[in-house]
């Protein structure tokens, strides 16, 4: 039996059964959420392993065995189409979510309404998994909304201060605006081509690339840049991510802006508007879209994002806000990788850039998860996230400080750690494509270095009054941090092996030089 639907069923079951479980008593809610998310992690790992082993795209039809309708020759049913990129993201999402829920056991112990908290966290995880496995663009929108609405509510979960409520409302307005852009794009595509299946849509667009499809592409990419927090529209991110509880910040920064942002951009561009397909059409003098323009637009926003995001991080006094701006900067690197992947499509350079971008998504999810867990530990133990009051924490919280040093070094991209490999691939490809881009990328890293050095000096500085009586947090918070530190070290030592064995096939499958994404669906039309 195919294991794929269970990756959705398990968290959905966990979320719906949460009110029933909470009747048994307060303690069971957290344990139930840990069990459910742990199971989901196992299932996602199984799905990833299956696809990695066979190196084939998995197509799963909902409601029937065949996506093609009775008596017609086109797909009418919702399909889930999982390639290695989707499966890798699903694995990352379930892994970080599992650790975040484990971390919540202690971090959220003093809050009320925890059945809603855990139910919403599982729904958030479910939405992200749905986005990365779906092959139907309206199904994608539904999962995007599930994810977004859960995250609006979770940002405002601690409603005893106005910070959370303000950030939640702001996030909701901006997010709804972005969602309506995306919905408009989908509606235009559906009106023009009459199908919602992504792979079939790709064929239809290649047959008849109209102005409408360009407008739809602009709406989709615009809306998704909002959701991923690219620079001119990053203002919601720097409010929402610090205001959420830290376990949720780790999921928002590490996962949500990737699954609902850069992943979706990459999927829509490479899956639906494949640059290779259109340059092929152009070679035969047929009407085609010119995706180089789009690639340069993405590179432009990427450069803006990585410089401004990292530069804004330098001047923050609030530790979580600093990390949030750093997330904006790192999104810039990922977008830069995808942008170069589009303009240098089919080239060795494009492949390196895509490998770097995919690799950096995974690395950043792990590193930013760790950094927000550290911020949470500091808030939980000291009660403030203001850097001016946190001086000299290193002596009282040595493990937390050590984890921070490793996380910060990894996100800056120092050699023995995992951030180095992915950033190196992005630098390398941008230097090969256009040296100016590489210079801009390095400037971003310099700012990032300055920001994290500042936090490090605060931690190592003279002990202030506030931290005199502070202790390390309990085990439920230490263990997730320790796991992430170990993952960072292991991924750092094996970085090039991981790059060759996992990330390169993933980038190739995303790039799909032979149109594998469409072929996986065509199998059914040919046979049906």
């Amino acid at each position: 039996m195919n294991v794929l639907p269970w990756v959705i069923i398990t968290p959905l079951f966990g979320a719906f059964s949460m009110p029933v479980i909470s009747l048994l008593g307060g303690k069971f809610r957290g344990h139930w959420a840990v069990i459910v998310s742990g199971l989901t992690l196992g299932i996602a790992a199984k799905v990833f392993y299956t696809i990695w082993k066979s190196n084939e795209i998995l197509v799963y039809t909902l409601g029937d065995t065949n996506p093609i309708g009775n008596g017609v020759k086109f797909p009418i049913r919702i399909i889930w189409e999982v390639d290695l990129f989707g499966a890798l993201l699903a694995l990352t999402v379930t892994f970080v979510s599992f650790l975040a829920i484990l971390y919540s056991l202690e971090y959220m112990k003093h809050d009320t309404g925890l059945d809603k908290y855990y139910a919403l966290t599982l729904v958030l995880e479910l939405g992200m998994i749905g986005i990365v496995i779906t092959g139907d663009i309206f199904n994608f929108y539904v999962f995007l909304e599930i994810m977004s609405i859960a995250s609006y509510a979770l940002v405002a979960f601690r409603n005893d201060t106005w910070e959370g409520i303000e950030a939640g409302v702001k996030y909701m307005f901006v997010g709804s605006l972005a969602s309506s852009f995306i919905l408009l794009g989908i509606a235009l595509l559906y009106g023009q081509y009459g199908t919602l299946t992504m792979a079939y849509l790709a064929m239809k667009i290649a047959e008849n690339p109209t102005l409408i499809s360009k407008v739809a592409l602009a709406f989709l990419v615009g809306g998704l840049l909002f959701k991923s927090g690219a620079v001119p529209v990053h203002m919601w991110l720097s409010d929402a991510h610090p205001a959420a509880p830290s376990s949720i910040s780790a999921m928002l920064s590490g996962l949500v802006i990737k699954a609902g942002g850069v992943y979706a951009i990459a999927r829509i561009i490479f899956g639906i508007f494949n640059p290779g397909l259109h340059s092929y059409l152009k070679a035969f003098d047929m009407p085609a879209l010119n995706l180089n323009t789009l690639g340069w637009i993405i590179i432009f926003f990427a450069c803006l994002t990585l410089v401004i995001g990292n530069a804004m991080a330098v001047v923050q006094n609030d530790m979580k806000r600093l990390f949030a701006f750093s997330s904006v900067g790192q999104i810039g690197y990922i977008l830069l990788g995808f942008g170069i992947g589009i303009v240098a499509y089919g080239d060795k350079i494009g492949e390196i850039a895509l490998t770097g971008a995919v690799y950096h998504i995974v690395n950043h999810a792990v590193i930013k998860g760790l950094l927000f867990f550290i911020a949470g530990a500091v808030i939980h133990q000291v009660g403030t996230k203001n850097l001016n009051e946190l001086s000299g924490l290193a002596r009282r919280m040595p493990f937390t400080t050590l984890s921070f040093i490793i996380g910060a070094a990894a996100i800056i991209g120092l050699p023995p750690l995992n951030g180095f490999a992915s950033k190196w691939l992005i630098y390398e490809s941008s230097a090969m494509y256009n040296p100016i881009l590489a210079v801009i990328a390095v400037i971003g890293t310099v700012f990032s270095l300055a920001a994290y050095t500042r936090v490090l000096f605060t931690f190592l500085g003279v002990e202030s009054e506030k931290v005199k009586m502070v202790k390390e947090p309990g085990n439920a918070m230490i263990v997730p941090m320790l796991v992430l530190v170990i993952i960072i070290l292991v991924m750092g030592i094996l970085s090039w092996q991981i790059s060759d064995k996992i990330m390169l096939p993933t980038a190739k499958m995303l790039e799909q030089l032979n149109g594998e994404y469409i072929m996986a669906l065509l199998k059914f039309i040919g046979g049906g």
Binding site: M1, P5, I9, F16, M18, L23, Y60, G63, T65
Partner: protein
Amino acid sequence: MRPQNSDMGLIVKTMARATIPLIGIFGAYVIVHGHITPGGGFQGGATIAGAGVLFLVAFGLSEAKEKINKNFYSVLEGIGGLVFLTAGMLGLGVVFFYNVLWHKGPVFNGEAGTLLSAGYLPIMNLAVGLKVYTGLVSALFAIALFRRWKK
């Protein structure tokens, strides 16, 4: 100034007494016929929730608190979701959301257009109706409970 939890007076209460059952019946009709007429679980559930809101508005919060147990509604909402999920999982032997009741029976596999047809759809409509009704009533209850104006 009126006391905070006041009801709305005799005329409104009498009208509410008369209309709440009718609204409920109409909502139940929309849910049950969801698979053969326009409407369905969400619309019917929202209609019944309208009756709940009318009760809340006409009789006031303190009266509604006695009749409506918040935790019970929260559990019912979870059960609605679980029933929906289970209906989707019935055909998991083939694929997720495979309509096994419609294809193989034993119930809800009558002639298309009749009440006992369409496989899992009537079950899902009932589940969604339950979830929407309890969810909307809980949400409005929360809004009514958490108002924080100064006296």
